[in-house]
């Protein structure tokens, strides 16, 4: 559906309900034959966004030559309309009578089994990089603007001219990594496409204008794809000069409009000045600004660079953490055309598996709610990262219910429920309590209880092991699917049983395998710190750490550090903790209730 937006998404894998807003075009797309008479009479002229402002468009326009459907659309923000100012010239000339100023947005709801997210990307705006003079000098343009100027359907019909005087430039400089690979300005990641884009542009220019002088200023050239190195060599063979070093300053010669580029050539170690007619800034890629809306609609998670996070970088690179949702193209990371097509094909195939199966296999690691114990508080609904728990209603006493197809088994709901109404079908409460008992049964003073997330810190422990990294044997791990599974009472129980130190560890924020379940871990640990302090117990005895599967060294280091902390906890302190946290006489300890329930 062209010219439409997703307004709402509900449901789960195999049963998504998507509400789409079909935006009003004010032109009947079925009737319009794109004759263009309407645009000819339209009095409005504004910069054409598609042509990067190098040409103008009318208020009634076709967004790009290859638009599907090939039908005009009215931009109501700029249209003079027919009320209150009577323009409506397009209405008068349209023989097909397909213009309708009273058209409204329509909402369409469709049932879908799987969703592919292909939101694309934005590009970096180099205005903040003062040294390059973008916006100050007319002949400094971005690589996106270059694409329009060299394009046959562009504003100059492919005749490459420089903006200041419309003459064909005799020399062009390209600056790489603009907004990429910088810790200070722009983004720290490599934008993946810029090197090859520039190499392609240089080959293209040399084909069109053999005598042109081309210089590429770069940090390093990353030509790693199939055939890419060959193209790089071809570019060099055709006489393109590659200068290692990024310009520190660009100045304009006011008489000629030429640009003087000052650069430290890091190969020779000398400061050089190069005069070029035009400078092209190879701008990096950014995540889409409005992708946050999609993230919220589909409960996706983002990595620290702002792109959507895949379910697993190696084993499930096109799956989103939410089952039934797949990622394609730059939604996941900066990609070139080939990688985007590859990922899109993979996403389509993965989606087709869901659709063709007809049934969804659910792993038996889901939550179960006992309706008799549910007190309709709705906390589980709030913390579920997958929206897999249906809304409760206190008034009509509707208990919470788990949609098992949507539940991923993180256990966050189980940790949040204060009434014992939620049982996880795996790593059950009584099993975890039993592990704590076993760890602290003997020499509890010498033990550190570690709750480790299955995906990250537990895997980090494995990695430390296979890497032969030493860490103290006094640290005892209890595996949970997610750190969000760690109930506050597990920690308090461990302290009651004499644990000198408890460590809760999970995935880094950007790596949470359950979207954002580990945020609940932080909230619980913060509550526990307050609670411990209130009872006169040092909050330092509860530690929190994010350790990824690849951080075996960090795991071993943290284990050594908490062991050092353990040595400083006195027997007297542990005894005081036991008394301070002992349940009041009438109150039955939660773990006993749990044990009774499971018997």
């Amino acid at each position: 559906m062209a010219y439409s937006e997703v307004d709402n998404v509900s449901g789960y894998i195999g049963n998504f309900k998507v509400t789409i807003r079909k935006k009003a075009r004010y032109v009947d797309e079925k009737q319009c034959n794109a004759c263009g008479e309407c645009a000819k009479v339209c009095p409005v002229a504004i910069p054409d966004e598609y042509q990067m402002g190098f040409s103008s468009r009318k208020a009634i326009y076709i967004q790009l030559p290859q638009a599907v459907p090939s039908s005009y659309v009215i931009d109501m923000k700029t249209c003079l309309g027919n009320n209150p100012i009577a323009c409506a010239k397009c209405l008068e000339v349209c023989e097909k009578k397909c213009i309708d100023f009273d058209m409204h947005d329509e909402f369409v709801t469709v049932d879908v089994g799987a969703i592919i997210v292909a939101v694309g990307n934005d590009v970096y705006d180099p205005t903040e990089l003062d040294e390059y003079g973008y916006r100050s000098y007319e002949n400094v343009i971005t690589s996106m603007e270059f694409e329009r100027l060299i394009c046959a359907s562009g504003p100059t019909e492919g005749h490459f001219v420089r903006p200041s005087d419309r003459t064909t430039p005799k020399s062009i400089g390209f600056v790489q990594c603009v907004g990429s690979r910088s810790q200070k300005r722009g983004n720290p990641y490599c934008s993946n496409i810029c090197c090859m884009n520039t190499i392609k542009d240089t080959v293209l220019l040399k084909d069109h204008y053999p005598g042109i002088d081309l210089k590429v200023f770069y940090m390093d050239i990353r030509a790693f794809g199939k055939g890419f190195e060959d193209l790089y060599m071809r570019s060099k063979a055709e006489g393109v000069q590659y200068i290692r070093g990024l310009p520190g300053d660009v100045e304009e010669d006011p008489k000629t409009g030429n640009l003087i580029v000052t650069v430290e050539n890091t190969t020779t170690g000398k400061i050089e000045k190069h005069e070029v007619d035009m400078l092209v800034l190879s701008v990096g890629l950014l995540p889409r600004k409005d992708s946050e809306v999609v993230r919220q609609l589909l409960t996706l998670s983002k990595t620290s660079d702002g792109f959507f996070m895949e379910s697993h970088p190696k084993l499930k690179p096109v799956d989103a953490p939410t089952r039934g949702v797949f990622l394609a193209g730059c939604a996941e990371s900066p990609k070139d055309v080939k990688d985007s097509v590859t990922q899109a094909s993979a996403a389509a195939s993965r989606a087709n598996i869901v659709l063709a199966a007809g049934k969804i296999k659910v792993e038996a690691i889901t939550a179960h709610i006992d309706p008799d114990l549910c007190k309709y508080c709705g906390l589980c609904v709030k913390v579920c990262p997958y929206k897999a728990i249906t809304q409760t209603d206190r008034k009509t006493k509707v208990p919470a219910k788990v949609i098992e197809a949507a539940c991923a088994g993180c256990g966050t709901c189980g940790a949040e429920c204060a009434f014992g109404a939620i049982t996880m079908r795996h790593f059950q409460d009584n099993q975890i309590y039993a592990q704590i008992d076993a760890i602290l049964e003997e020499n509890s003073q010498n033990k550190v209880v570690v709750f480790a997330c299955n995906w990250c810190s537990y895997a980090g422990a494995d990695f430390a092991g296979v890497s032969r990294l030493q860490y103290p044997a006094t640290n005892r791990l209890i595996r949970t699917m997610c750190s969000g599974r760690v109930n506050e009472d597990f920690v308090l129980y461990a302290f009651r049983k004499g644990a000198p130190i408890v460590l809760v560890s999970g995935c880094h924020f950007a790596d949470c395998h359950y979207i954002n379940a580990n945020r609940q871990t932080v909230l619980r640990v913060e509550r526990l710190w307050d609670q411990l302090e209130k009872k006169g117990i040092r909050p330092e005895r509860l530690q929190l750490e994010w350790i990824s599967a690849a951080e075996g060294q960090k795991f071993a280091l943290v284990m050594r550090e908490v062991e050092e902390m353990r040595k400083k906890v006195t027997a007297k302190e542990v005894e005081f903790t036991k008394q301070a946290l002992a349940p009041k006489k009438k109150e039955e300890p939660k773990e006993k209730k749990e044990a009774a329930k499971t018997q």
């Binding site: 950007a510 945020r519 913060e526 710190w529 909050p539 330092e540 509860l542 530690q543 929190l544």
Partner: protein, 52 residues
């Protein structure tokens, strides 16, 4: 300018200012000195009293 608050590292005891806003999304925090994630916000006394 982003809001900040004082945080105490429960590993090495370092007190430092880190971005914090009650309405903002939770962020991963690490001690600038020892890199521990056990960063506890030092609450204002009034706030602590109100919480009680």
């Amino acid at each position: 300018m982003a809001q900040e608050a004082d945080f105490k590292c429960l590993r090495c005891g370092t007190i430092t200012k880190l971005p914090y806003s009650p309405d903002a999304e939770l962020q991963e925090r690490a001690c600038p000195k020892c890199k521990s994630n056990s960063m506890r916000r030092i609450k204002e006394q009034k706030e602590a009293r109100a919480a009680k």
